[in-house]
Symmetry: C2
Subunit: 214 residues, 2 copies
Amino acid sequence: MESNSSQHQKEPDTEKKILTAAGKVFMIKGKAGTSMQDIADEAGINRTLLHYYFRNKDKLFDAIFDDVLKKIFPIVAKVFMDKNPLFEKIESFCILYIDMLKDKPFLPFFLFQEIYINPKRLVGMIKEGGLDTFVGRESMKKELHQHGVDDMDPRHLIANLIGMVIFPFVGRPMFQKLAFNDDQEAYEIFLEQRKKEVPEFIKCALKGRNISST
Amino acid sequence: MESNSSQHQKEPDTEKKILTAAGKVFMIKGKAGTSMQDIADEAGINRTLLHYYFRNKDKLFDAIFDDVLKKIFPIVAKVFMDKNPLFEKIESFCILYIDMLKDKPFLPFFLFQEIYINPKRLVGMIKEGGLDTFVGRESMKKELHQHGVDDMDPRHLIANLIGMVIFPFVGRPMFQKLAFNDDQEAYEIFLEQRKKEVPEFIKCALKGRNISST
DNA sequence: GTCTATATCGGGATAGAC
DNA sequence: GTCTATCCCGATATAGAC
């Protein structure tokens, strides 16, 4: 019988509520800028419960950070590991990544910031993720060659791709204000458009480059 | 005579040292993550001097932030305001921006973060900068038209441009590790290459798009 | 598991001597 | 202008009652 637990709120899962709240607040305010109280407020619970479940702030942050990595790595890896044709990979990357960022816009931000401050994390991260060296670069070069592009380091292509996808999210407040007069709705549409716009841009760039060199 | 000041270290300018140190530390650790002691250590001075010169942490941060804005705005504005041909604007933007970021790699980071946390700043910022509404968009559309591109919102072009330029800096630790096996030197070269690579990529993209639609 | 009360510490800020 | 000493508060963290 668990009828006696009815008074205890029987919250669907306090731990889960904490993780959700912490993820949200940490992402926006950063680790240092976030207090345990902030998280407790966001979760609607007592502050000391955070310690009960996660011992201390560091541990809680780590839990969030690991979680974030688990979500983002498979997506990034897709571009390098997949066996699909180049443009298909790029397209699916854009869709996946943009959808994820719509859900968690601060994610790249959060990631990059923490790694800047604490680069050690990167080492363990990579070993766990099994991305020890950068596989797939040679194969990408080959793919570019098949499209008639021989004079481009694939890493430039990767940087271009990721940069184009990420920017509207990390720079959102500024860009939305300056370029969209703070029209939220228009910006949402813009973000959605980029799922097609970015792959198209890349496709044209590679095609244009190809033609120019013949 | 100022011979009597010889004991006093006669520092070339304490205030300047503070600004330099604060700029560095704030950018890397963020406002919340930086303590006054951190800055004092970086500057090699006593902590209370920071208060003597800037009263409190907020004021010191504001001084840094304003300074950053003054540097970055003219560069960004250049893309929209200039009367040069489109590709020249893009090229000079890339060179200016990349050179600046080589000097202050955390700058976009720092900017975006602060604006995310404190969007109010944006308002005052824009009014000071005189960028009230987004001028230059129509003229950009015209320019694109001259290049045979009619089906592209110039804002996508802007987002692409800025994203491509910024990413290698904000994502540096991760990207350098994953794509360059942490080879610092190779990465510097890569960054330098992007001054040509990005404009070239854009040029080809627009050309490719143009041809495809004819 | 959840709460209240409390210990402890670090960081911001000021006063005042030099 | 620069330093030491000190105040104060906010935030982490723990102990212990329920």
